[in-house]
Symmetry: C2
Subunit: 96 residues, 2 copies
């Protein structure tokens, strides 16, 4: 089935998907850098207060088609990804 | 504790969080538009083949600190969000 409008919207969606991927990876790199700085200063890597502050900041700015609870759920998943990454780095550091 | 480097990295992280939020909402709006076009043409809104293609495209382009399985998990969550949105719209349409 040929539908120009649908094809155009799908192309835009593909672009948004790749932009999201790029930002997710950029976020991962930033979290790794933050982990290194914290480690250097003997700070605890996981900071639930800072995580709650980030989430509140995000929800304050939210203005879109999704429910707040849906956005909160997604960002908790994104935060969890970063935590896994830090744990990996730490294990690797201990093994070397 | 004052740490300029940490503050700077956290500011960057906050910016990335808001960019992610903005893209997630843009994605939601695109999915709503796609749903409308599909409805107009009597097409099924949920298309598992197209979803798999999107996911493969994303994974092909992935080049970052996260595991492929982690990226796949996250995007499945993002896709699921969009599906919920379409179901909402549909219910609302039926109620009017």
């Amino acid at each position: 089935m040929s539908n120009e409008q649908l094809d155009q919207l799908r192309n835009e969606l593909d672009k948004v998907n790749l932009d999201l991927l790029s930002l997710i990876n950029k976020r991962g790199e930033l979290v790794q850098q933050i982990g290194e700085v914290k480690e250097k200063h003997g700070m605890n890597r996981f900071d639930p207060v800072r995580e709650r502050e980030m989430l509140n900041h995000i929800l304050q700015e939210h203005d879109g088609p999704f429910e707040y609870s849906t956005v909160e759920h997604l960002f908790k998943e994104i935060f969890k990804m970063a935590l896994e990454l830090q744990e990996d780095d730490h294990s690797k550091a201990l093994l070397v």
